[in-house]
Amino acid sequence: MIVELGHYALVLTFALTLIQSTVPLWGAVREDDRLMAIAPPVSIAMFFLVLISFAALTIAYVTSDFSVVNVWENSHSAKPMLFKITGVWGNHEGSLLLWVLILVFFGALVAYFGSNMPSPLRAATLAVQGWVTAGFVLFMLATSNPFNRIPSAPIEGNDLNPILQDIGLAIHPPLLYVGYVGFSITFSFAVAALILGRIDAAWARWVRPWTLLAWAFLTLGIAMGSYWAYYELGWGGWWFWDPVENASFMPWLAGTALLHSAIVMEKRDALKVWTVLLAIFTFSLSLLGTFLVRSGVLTSVHAFATDPARGVFILVLLCLFIGGSLSLYAWRAPLLKQGGLFSPISREGALVLNNLFLSAATAAVLVGTLYPLALDAITGEKISVGEPFFNLTFGPLMVPLLMAIPFGPVLAWKRGDLLAAAERLYAGFGIAILAVLFTFWLWGMERVLAPIGVGLGVWVMAGAICEIWTRVKPREVGLKRAFERLKGLPGAAWGTATAHFGVGVTVLGIVTASAFQDEYVQTMKPGDTVNLSGYAVTFDGVAPRRGANFIEDVGHFTVRQSGVVIAEMEPSKRLYTARQFPTTEAGIHTVGFSQIYLSMGEGRPNGAIDVRVYFKPLVTLIWIGCVIMAIGAVFSMADRRLRVGAPKPSAKRSPQPSATPAE
C-alpha cells in the first residue's frame, strides 16, 4: 500500500505540474490575480506529494520490498542500513526522484519566501519551474518509473554496485543535485522575466542568493567527487577531465560567472540581459550534464544507467528547454531595459572581465567534452580529449583570471582607479614574490613555471587578505576601532574575501601537488624500501582478509622518517563477491597538508607486488580550498541586506587616502 501511495503521489504531482505550468502563467499574462494566486499553494502541495513519494521509495528500500523492481535491482537484504538508504538515489530511477524532490523543494521555497515579490513575477517563475518539473516527472513515469512492481517478489535483490557502496559517493549525488537544481530557480526567474518582458528590482535581489546556494553545493559536490576518485580509483589523480566530471564542472564555471554578473545587476542595475542569458546557459549546462550522465552516452564509472530510449527522451527534453529558452531570449531580450553605465576600469569592468574569461573557459571545456562524442557519432572514430587539450585551452584562460582576481574587489563601482587599487595590493604582491623566491630556493631552478604557479596561488590568497585589510584600515582608525569595523563588515565582503582566498588555496594545492609530486612505480618484494621526499616506505607483505561482502588482499607498509616509524599503511585490492567486482582501496597517510599515497597493482608469484607510491605535497589544499569557497558563499548568502552599489564620490572632492601596506 505504501509503495502504491507513493506511486499515486507521483502521478498526482504530474497532474499538478500541468496545471502549475499553465494556469498561473495565463494569469500573469492576463493580469488575473486569482489565477496567479494558485502558484504558491500548488508548489507547496507538489513538494509534499513528492516527499511522500520519496519516503515511500525509501521505506521500500529499508524493508527490502523486492516487489518493487527498482529495489530488487539495486538492493540486497543483507546490505548495511546506511547503504540501503543511500541506495535509494544510487541508481537511475531513484536519483531522478531525488532530482525532482529538490526541484519541487526549491519551488516551495520560492513560494514560501516570495511573498514580497511582485505577483506576476512569482507566478511566472513558479510556472516555469512547473515546466521543468513536468518534464522530469513525465520522463520518470514514461521511461524510468521507480514504482514498477513484480507480482511475485524475488527473494533476494541484485545488490548495489560495490563501487557506489562508499560513504563518499553516498553524499556526492545529493550535493551535486542541489547544485544543479538550484540553478533551475535562476533559470525560471530568467525565463519568467523574458515572458513578462520586464526585470523587476526584486528579480535582481533574488538571483544572487539562489545562485550562491546552488554554487556552494555544486562546489562541495565536485570536490567530494574529486576526492572520491582520488582515493577509490587508485591512480593517484584527483581530476581526469572525464566527461562526467566536465558535466558538473561546466555549470560550475557558468554559475561562477552568473554569480558575479548577478552582483553587478543587483548593485548597479546593469548587465541585466547578460545575466538572463547566463542564467539560461547555466541551467542548460546542468541539463546537459544530466543528459550526459543519465542517457548513458558516455561509458564511464558514473554511467550506471544505460538505456537508449531514456537517452532519446532526455535529449528531447534538453532540446525543448534549451532551444525554447534561447528562442524566447532571442525574441524577448530586446524588450529588457539595459541599466547603469560604467567605465571599463571599475568594479563592473572587473566583473565583466571575469565573465569573459569564465565563459571562454566554459566553452573550452564544452568543446573538449562534446567534440569526442560528436566525432564518435559522425565518423565512429573514438578519440579521447584529455589533459593536454585542457592544459592548452583551459590553463591559459585561468592565469590572467587569477591575476585579476585581487583587483576586482578593491576597485570602486562605476569608475575605478587602477593605480589606487594597485597601491592597496602592494603587500599582497610582495608576499607573492616572496613565495616564488622561497619555492625556487626549496625546489631549485629546474621547474620555472611551478614557482610562478605557487606565486599565483599566494597572490590570490594575499589579495583576499589585503581587501579585508583595506576595508578595515587598522593603521588609520586604531586597533580597537578596527576590530569593530572588522565585525561590522557586511557578509558579502567576508564572502568575497573568503571565497577568493579559497580559490588561492586550491590553486596552491593544484600547483604543488602536480609539479612537486614524488612518484615511484615499481615492483617491490617484501622487505624492499623506497625513499621519497624524505620518507622511507617499506613493504612488509600481503595478506588476504575477508570483509562483510568482499574479500581483499591487504598490503602492509611501514613509513619511516629518519628511522622513526611514523605510520603504517594498508592499501588493498578488493573483490566484491556478489558481483565479482574488483576495486582498489588506496592507502593514504596525511602529513600536515601533504599526503603519502599508496596503491597496489598486480601481485607477482614470488610475493612481490606492483606498487605506486606517491608523495603529494599540499594535495589536501585542493579540497580544503573548495570547502573554503563554499563557506564564502554561505557568508555572502547570510548577507540579507539590501545592497546597492554607488560610485565612490569623485576623487577631486575627497582625495583617496593612500593605504600604504603595513609590511
Binding site: 500500500m1 505504501i2 509503495v3 502504491e4 501511495l5 506511486h7 499515486y8 502521478v11 498526482l12 504530474f14 497532474a15 499538478l16 496545471i19 494556469v23 495565463w26 494569469g27 492576463r30 493580469e31 488575473d32 490575480d33 486569482r34 489565477l35 494566486a37 494558485i38 504558491p40 499553494p41 500548488v42 502541495a45 511522500i52 521500500a60 524493508t63 527490502s64 520490498d65 523486492f66 516487489s67 514580497n116 511582485p118 505577483s119 506576476p120 513575477l121 513515469l141 518509473n145 514504482f147 512492481r149 507480482p151 511475485s152 517478489a153 524475488p154 527473494i155 520586464r198 528590482a201 526584486a202 569595523r485 561590522g488 557586511p490 541586506r641 539590501l642 546597492v644 554607488a646 564620490p649
Partner: protein, 380 residues
C-alpha cells in the same frame, strides 16, 4: 480500502490547493502592484543606507552617493508606476480553473495511476514475505525461508531433511548432497538418507558413481540389505568401473523377481542388456507405465521425463526383440518410437512384427492399421 481513502485525501488536498486561492477575493489595497513592489524595494534600500550610516559602516560621502543612486532608481520606478495596471479578472477563466481543479485533476491523476500502477498489490517487505502462510508461496520463497532458518540454526537436522529433496527437485544436487550429509551428521544414519546422499552425489557428478557416493550406498546397504536404490547404483557403479561380470550379477540379482512396473526396472534392464547379460524372470504385471509412473513422469523435469520414457521404450524394445510379444505390444513400441522421433527404429519394429506374425492375418491387419495410423507406411 485504506489506500483509496488516502488517495482520495491526497487528491482532495491537491484540489484544495487550487480552489482555495481561487476563492479568495481580490486584495483590497493594490499595494501588491508590480511597480509599487519595485518602489518598496528601493525604499527599503534607502532605510538600509541610513542604518549603515548610523552604525558607522559607511562614511557620509558614500551614503550620499548611495542615496543619490537609489533615488534615481526610485524615481524611474515611480514613473513606470504611473501607468499602473488593474487586475483583469475574467469569470470564464476562473470557472475553467475551478473545473480543472474539481474534475479534470482527479480524473486525470486517477486514470493515469490506474494505467501505470498496481493498486491491488500489497507491499511485500522481506519480513512479510518470510512469515506469510506457506501455501501462498512459491517453492523459491519456501526454500529461502528454510535456508534463512538453517543459516540461523545450522544444527536443526530436521530442516536439512526437509530441504534436501527440494534441492534435488530444483536441480541442485550439490546442495542436496550437503543437506543429506548434514542431516546424517546431526540425526544419525538412515538407509534412505544415505542412499539419497549417494544419488545426489552421483547426479552432481554427471551420473558417474564416485568413491564418496559408493561409500554412501554401501553404508545404506549395511543398514538395509534389501534396499533397491543403493543396490541399483552399486550395480551401475560396477558397470562403470568395467567389472562386467560382477555388474551383470548385481543387475540380475536386483531384477530377480522385481515388479516390472517399478520405474527403475526398465533402465536396469537396458543397462543389463547393454552389458550382454540376460534378463532374469521378473514378477508379473502389466507391461507399460502404470498410474504411479505416469504421475511420476508428469512431475519430472522435462529432461528427466524424456530420459525415463526413453528408458522404458528401450526396455520394451529389448523385451519384444528377445521374447516376442502380442500384436498390441508391438504397436505400442511403434507408437513410442514414432513419438520419440526414431523413424528408423519404428520401421524396424514394424518389419520385425510383420515377421513375427507371419500367417496370422488378424494380427498382421492390426499391425498394418497401427503402422498406417502412425505414418510408418503410406495409407493407400
Amino acid at each position: 480500502m485504506i489506500l483509496w481513502i488516502l488517495i482520495a485525501a491526497m487528491t482532495a488536498a491537491a484540489a484544495l490547493s487550487i480552489l482555495v486561492p481561487l476563492a479568495h477575493t481580490r486584495a483590497e489595497e493594490p499595494a501588491e502592484d508590480v511597480q509599487t513592489a519595485d518602489e518598496a524595494v528601493y525604499r527599503q534600500q534607502l532605510e538600509e543606507v541610513e542604518r549603515d550610516l548610523d552604525r558607522g559602516l559607511i562614511d557620509p560621502a558614500a551614503a550620499e552617493a548611495a542615496r543619490t543612486e537609489i533615488a534615481r532608481r526610485l524615481l524611474a520606478a515611480h514613473e513606470r508606476g504611473q501607468n499602473g495596471r488593474k487586475s483583469a479578472e475574467s469569470k470564464s477563466s476562473l470557472r475553467t480553473a475551478q473545473v480543472i481543479a474539481v474534475a479534470v485533476l482527479p480524473m486525470f491523476a486517477l486514470g493515469l495511476y490506474l494505467f501505470l500502477g498496481a493498486p491491488g498489490m500489497p507491499d511485500q517487505p522481506l519480513s512479510a514475505r518470510m512469515t506469510a502462510p506457506a501455501e501462498d508461496q512459491s517453492v523459491d520463497v519456501l526454500v529461502a525461508r528454510v535456508e534463512k532458518h538453517l543459516a540461523e540454526n545450522p544444527e536443526d537436522g530436521q530442516g536439512w531433511v526437509v530441504v534436501a529433496p527440494v534441492y534435488m527437485q530444483l536441480g541442485k544436487p550439490e546442495q542436496a548432497a550437503q543437506a543429506y550429509a548434514n542431516a546424517i551428521r546431526l540425526l544419525g544414519r538412515r538407509d534412505d538418507w544415505e542412499a539419497n546422499l549417494g544419488e545426489a552425489l552421483t547426479v552432481a557428478n554427471d551420473g558417474i558413481v564416485n568413491v564418496a557416493a559408493r561409500e554412501a550406498f554401501e553404508r545404506a546397504i549395511a543398514l538395509e540389505p534389501e534396499a533397491i536404490k543403493p543396490r541399483f547404483f552399486l550395480a551401475l557403479a560396477l558397470g562403470q568401473e568395467g567389472k562386467t561380470e560382477a555388474a551383470i550379477a548385481a543387475w540380475q540379482d536386483l531384477l530377480e523377481g522385481a515388479d516390472p512396473r517399478e520405474a527403475w526396472v526398465a533402465s536396469a534392464v537396458s543397462s543389463l542388456e547393454r552389458l550382454g547379460g540376460t534378463v532374469p524372470e521378473m514378477g508379473d504385471g502389466l507391461r507399460g507405465p502404470d498410474q504411479e509412473q505416469m504421475a511420476a513422469a508428469s512431475q519430472m523435469m522435462p529432461e528427466d521425463r524424456q530420459q525415463m520414457i526413453e528408458g522404458m521404450v528401450a526396455g520394451l524394445d529389448a523385451r519384444l526383440k528377445s521374447d516376442g510379444g502380442s500384436a498390441d505390444e508391438w504397436a505400442q513400441l511403434m507408437r513410442a518410437q514414432v513419438v520419440l522421433g526414431n523413424e528408423d527404429a519404428a520401421r524396424e519394429a514394424f518389419e520385425l512384427a510383420q515377421a513375427a506374425f507371419e500367417g496370422d492375418e488378424e494380427a498382421l491387419a492390426s499391425i498394418n492399421d497401427a503402422a498406417r495410423e502412425f505414418g510408418i507406411i503410406k495409407s493407400n
